[in-house]
């Protein structure tokens, strides 16, 4: 399921040093990334990090203040019309004309995009999102989940090489979230898909690559697995000793143990021992503690989940506090029964 090495694949999106200011305040400082054919790239970040602004720049809705980008080889400023022909875009709020029927809306969008074989294209898009039996329903009467599907149908109608979906699962119930996720998964391969999300498990499930965006900058870019293993170390162990033990000695003793990446004293006899990838020094730590006759009060392994990494990467206190970082536990549970 994982993508091939990126180098031998066609670059579909190229963004170089994109920046965007609203007045004097920067919404985007410096965004540089490539996306390849057939890849699902996730923008992950707290609300207000610049995900939507980046998408709006790529779609040609907003011009960047500086920097350049191209889609399918077309410059987003110079060849805006070509770019627009090569993307399908669904904004965060799923804006649709609620007075139209599903069919007439998709037909309208197909006309605007100059799709050659309109009826076929509309029919195909509708069956891709499982809306076949809804052709004559008025959009205003559809549930949020069905509207989201209409929005996605609209974005893939003209079979664009690049599909950009801004928070495609926001505001949906768990079942609808699952539907939309599997839809996005089906898009993979034919299209380069960019989704934005602040839900970690979603990025983990859907994306080949995750760009963690914070305060208008990419702070990490890797596959979800790499993020987990490389960036923060796989594991850590919390060791609690009697406070009487000298921290310096503990640090020295633990540092020599194989599989230990670092030791940090947290005071009061608490130590956070970072573990190298694939290392398991717990037994050795215990031996070393007991061998020295230190009273061992507690030893707990701590998993570094993507969500911890995310919090660490975006760890400006105010950002973390002010924005809801949805760690999405219920959606995670729901994944199990689907």
């Amino acid at each position: 399921m994982k993508s091939q090495p990126a180098q031998d694949r066609e670059v579909m999106i190229q963004a170089e040093h994109l920046a965007r200011y609203y007045g004097p305040s920067p919404a985007l400082r410096d965004i540089t990334f490539d996306a390849y054919r057939g890849e699902i790239v996730g923008f992950l970040g707290p609300n207000g990090a610049g995900k939507t602004t980046t998408m709006r720049i790529l779609t040609g809705y907003l011009p960047p203040t500086s920097g350049r980008a191209s889609i399918a080889g077309f410059d987003i400023i110079e060849q805006s019309m070509e770019v627009r022909r090569h993307i399908g875009y669904l904004p965060e709020t799923t804006p649709l004309y609620t007075d139209m029927t599903v069919w007439s809306y998709l037909d309208f969008m197909a006309r605007l995009r100059g799709v050659a074989n309109r009826d076929d294209a509309v029919e195909r898009a509708m069956s891709r999102v499982n809306l076949d039996d809804r052709a004559d329903q008025v959009i205003g009467q559809l549930s949020k989940g069905l509207r989201q599907r209409v929005g996605i149908a609209q974005a893939v109608l003209h079979d664009p090489p690049v599909v950009i979906l801004d928070e495609p699962t926001i505001g949906l119930d768990p079942r609808q979230i699952q539907d939309v996720r599997s839809l996005i998964h089906e898009l993979k391969g034919n299209h380069t898909v960019i989704i934005s999300t602040h839900i970690l498990s979603e990025a983990e499930q859907l994306c080949d690559r995750v760009l963690v965006i914070n305060r208008g900058e990419i702070v990490a870019a890797a596959s979800p697995e790499e993020l987990q293993t490389q960036l923060a170390g796989a594991q850590a162990v919390r060791v609690v000793l009697a406070p009487s033990v000298q921290p310096r000695e503990v640090e020295k003793a633990f540092a020599d143990i194989e599989g230990v990446a670092g030791v940090a004293s947290e005071g009061d006899g608490r130590y956070l021992v970072k573990v190298t990838a694939n290392g398991n020094p717990r037994a050795a730590i215990a031996q070393s503690v007991v061998g020295r006759g230190w009273p061992l009060l507690e030893m707990t392994p701590i998993g570094m989940s993507l969500e911890r990494i995310f919090l660490e990467l975006t760890a400006d206190a105010d950002v973390v506090d002010e924005t809801e970082i949805d760690t999405d536990t219920d959606a995670g549970e729901e994944d199990g029964d689907a």
Partner: protein, 241 residues
């Protein structure tokens, strides 16, 4: 051109599902029908279609901004504008297409008054004076185009339809009565004359007297194009803010 018509078609279809349109249409029909019957039945009155049309047009001063108010304001409120502006369509095509859609509805409404013409034709003893009538309809068409363009402009300024309509009506009232300066200062200099030229009612009255003057045509066409141009620029400026 194709894009323009695609957008206009969508607007036309959406008018038919919009209660606002039916209210405007009903008010117009009741008002014009009542005036028609009233004037026909008043003894000693000459039944002049051109006079009637100029009376009908006063409804349009209010109706046009109401017809146009949703065109861009609603798109901005719901966010559908973002989809339109990222589709392969130029901004001016969006603006002109919407205006064209509204204009089609306006022409449709106006063509209902042809029933009045037909009734007059049935009972007219000396036949119809076609020249002034055609001039009147041309004037009405140009006036409709201009008022709707002003409405599109005010609709581009806000996300709120009611505000768009209100500002539109105010703007049209000011323009309409600007012509009065010519009567207030009959000996005014070039300044008064140019203000008077901007005013709307004199130009329209010329048409309803059967006079097609290029000054009147230029006035209305200029206002139409100018308003739509401004609306396009305002739409574009959304990208830069």
């Amino acid at each position: 051109m194709r894009n323009l018509w695609t957008i206009a078609r969508r607007e036309i279809a959406s008018y038919f599902t919009s209660p606002v349109f039916w209210v405007v249409a009903t008010v117009f029909m009741v008002f014009s029908g009542f005036l028609f019957g009233f004037i026909l039945n008043s003894p000693g009155q000459q039944a002049e279609m051109t006079q009637l049309l100029s009376l009908y047009s006063t409804v349009m001063l209010f109706a046009a901004p109401v017809l146009a108010m949703k065109l861009l304001a609603e798109e901005q409120r719901t966010g559908t504008l973002e989809v339109l502006m990222t589709a392969p369509v130029n901004d001016w095509q969006v603006v002109w297409g919407k205006w064209l859609g509204a204009l089609c509805m306006f022409v449709g409404l106006m063509s209902l008054t042809l029933a009045h013409v037909a009734i007059l034709l049935r009972y007219a003893e000396k036949g119809m004076d076609w020249g002034p009538l055609l001039a009147s309809y041309l004037g009405l068409f140009l006036l409709g185009g201009m008022l709707l363009a002003l409405g599109v402009f005010t609709s581009s300024l806000t996300q709120n339809q009611a505000i768009a309509a209100f500002v539109g009506i105010m703007l049209i009232m000011i323009l309409w009565f600007l012509s009065l300066v010519n009567q207030i200062f009959p000996n005014g200099g070039w300044f008064v004359k140019s203000i008077g030229y901007i005013g709307l009612s004199d130009h329209f009255n010329n048409f309803s007297q059967g006079v097609i003057d290029s000054r009147d045509v230029i006035h209305m066409v200029t206002f139409t194009i100018g308003s739509l141009f401004l609306a396009t620029r305002i739409l574009e400026s959304r990208r830069w803010r």
